[in-house]
């Protein structure tokens, strides 16, 4: 049990959104009536507006990635709930470029439907719209799961690469192809030693005994299909990395981008230890670790867990990834 620092559970998201807008007023503009953030600066070369969104509770995803070099707009929903189609529709109209707007959507039923409704409205209004669906979660890779793999950590990497690509003036069709290809070349696996606590009650979404680990956990309190003992971190990272590499099978010359991501309550000390183990495993397997990020990038409220994402890149992808970015949560 963990009490949230909040005035009221119903006010947690709106209070955070207005605080975020104030804190980053130099980078983003907030429309509280229609519920979306837009970037204050964008490259004049950009021909397509990039938009994402999803439930709150995954901060800094998505609003933290609005700004020059990355997203043009983000639509936050309530905690773990899809944004309404109205938010997406109006934000899309606000940021559509001469070649339209690209929706970057995590694969969840609610997000797919609401982004889909917004896309139908945009088509009716004569605005070109296309979608990249992110489905990188290896744990939900099963023929028994009709909705397919979930979208998780790779979302922010793909948003960064597409932002860099869009700034070169890349057209809508090429961005869709690139994003879809990147989603196919990215996999994530998450593990948690404690669930997130619900903002309304402070109660954990599920219970684990000390020393137990949920292996393949989702980012909304979905349990994994396996509970195992936590064991040592080197063995755990070994297993997770092995599973990711088995799924992705990078060639010896392929540059790989790695994301070691905290899910809310794991310390930076632990994350760097985990990164060290990841780098060791990749070196031993002769995988070329080209770029990496370590920190809290796609969270699940205060879940005590982490995820590993690997993306098999190429020369162009690294160029787009390295391009300048200036957002509340990512800048170089």
């Amino acid at each position: 049990m963990a009490r949230y620092f909040e005035n009221d559970a119903g006010e947690l998201v709106p209070d955070a959104l207005s605080g975020f807008a104030r804190a980053h007023a130099d980078l983003v503009a907030y429309d509280p009536a229609d519920g979306f953030f837009t970037a204050r600066q964008a490259s004049p070369a950009r021909r397509v507006g990039l938009l994402s969104g999803g439930g709150s509770g995954h901060e800094p995803l998505h609003a933290g990635y609005v700004g020059a070099g990355m997203l043009d707009a983000a639509c936050p929903g309530r905690v773990f709930a899809s944004p309404h189609n109205r938010q997406i529709y109006r934000a899309s109209r606000a940021v559509a470029g001469p070649e339209g707007v690209l929706h970057i959507v995590k694969n969840y039923t609610g997000d797919r439907i609401n982004f889909g409704i917004a896309a139908e409205r945009l088509a009716d209004a004569g605005i070109t719209c296309a979608r990249v669906l992110i489905d990188d979660d290896l744990a939900s890779d099963s023929e028994e799961i009709a909705s397919g793999r979930r979208g998780t950590g790779a979302t922010m990497l793909i948003e960064k690469v597409l932002g860099g690509a869009a700034d070169t003036g890349m057209g809508l069709g090429a961005l869709v192809d690139l994003g879809t290809s990147l989603a196919g070349r990215s996999r994530t696996l998450a593990a948690a030693s404690a669930a997130h606590n619900a903002p309304a009650t402070g109660e954990p979404a599920f219970g684990l005994l000390p020393g137990e680990l949920e292996y393949g956990v989702g980012i909304h309190g979905e349990r994994a299909d396996r509970t195992r003992s936590q064991g040592s971190v080197d063995a755990l990272v070994d297993d997770m990395t092995g599973a990711l590499l088995d799924a992705l099978r990078p060639g010896p010359d392929d540059p790989v981008v790695a994301l070691v991501n905290g899910l809310g309550s794991v310390t930076s000390l632990e994350l760097y230890g985990i990164f060290g183990e990841l780098a060791r495993v990749l070196d031993a397997r002769r995988v070329r670790l080209a770029r990496h990020l370590v920190g809290d990038y796609v969270t699940a409220l205060d879940m005590r867990g982490f995820s590993l994402t690997l993306m098999v890149a190429d020369h162009d992808t690294l160029g787009f990834y390295d391009a300048p970015v200036r957002t509340p949560a990512l800048r170089w």
């Binding site: 109205r86 609610g110 797919r112 439907i113 609401n114 889909g116 409704i117 139908e120 409205r121």
Partner: protein, 222 residues
């Protein structure tokens, strides 16, 4: 365009009767949805027709069918939470577009085109097929009936669409759900018609008159 085409006044009357039907059956819809969904569908549909009514009250009486249906679309798309209500909005958006493309009056051909386009949009968005126990099970036979109606007057064509939709509603009672909230219940939702499908049937049936209660329409026939 035949003289029987719906003008703005007839379209408005249709919408008003649809609203009356939703209010008259809201409790029954809620009861259905509590057994096979999360229980908010009746309220959501009522929110939609209420929002549409408020917008239509501010619209000029001389507004044509396209504008009237467009107002419905905006209300359902913008003002209803969840997903079923906004999906109705996509049907109204497509009907509005078809009405605008076909001229001042709402013809049977425009109704058939709009319903087919609305069905296609809803299927794209929801990834639902006939037989999945969703509103598609009522909308698909309604669209087929309108297409088959050819040059019949709109009132006649809409009556056959309503018959098809009610038949689809009754079929949903024998299905277990693959999509939507009811899918989590599996076999336990069998025997209960899909509330979204009922809403579609109410819409087409309202072209002829108000539906005061669901009971008679949900009994198996033939």
């Amino acid at each position: 365009m035949t003289t029987a085409a719906f003008d703005g006044t007839r379209t408005r009357e249709w919408i008003r009767r649809f609203a009356d039907s939703v209010y008259a059956t809201e409790a029954e819809l809620t009861a259905l949805d509590q057994r096979a969904g999360d229980g908010d569908f009746g309220t959501n549909l009522a929110t939609g027709v209420r929002a549409a009514g408020l917008l239509l009250d501010r619209t000029d009486e001389s507004a044509g069918p396209a504008e009237t249906l467009g107002t419905m679309a905006t209300a359902f798309l913008d003002e209803i939470g969840g997903t079923s209500g906004p999906l109705f909005g996509l049907l109204f958006q497509a009907l509005s577009r078809a009405a605008a493309d076909s001229g001042p009056g709402l013809t049977t051909a425009a109704l058939a085109d709009g319903t087919a386009q609305g069905l296609a949009a809803i299927r794209r968005v929801g990834d639902a097929s006939p037989g999945d126990k969703t509103l598609v099970d009522a909308l698909d036979p309604a669209a087929a009936a309108l297409r088959a109606a050819g040059t019949a007057p709109p009132a006649t064509a809409l009556a056959t669409a309503a018959d098809g939709a009610w038949r689809g509603v009754r079929d949903t009672a024998s299905l277990s759900a693959r999509m939507g909230r009811a899918s989590y219940l599996g076999e336990r939702a069998t025997g209960i018609p899909d509330p979204g499908a009922v809403g579609i049937a109410l819409f087409f049936a309202s072209a002829a008159g108000t539906v005061p209660a669901l009971g008679p329409h949900l009994r198996p026939t033939g």
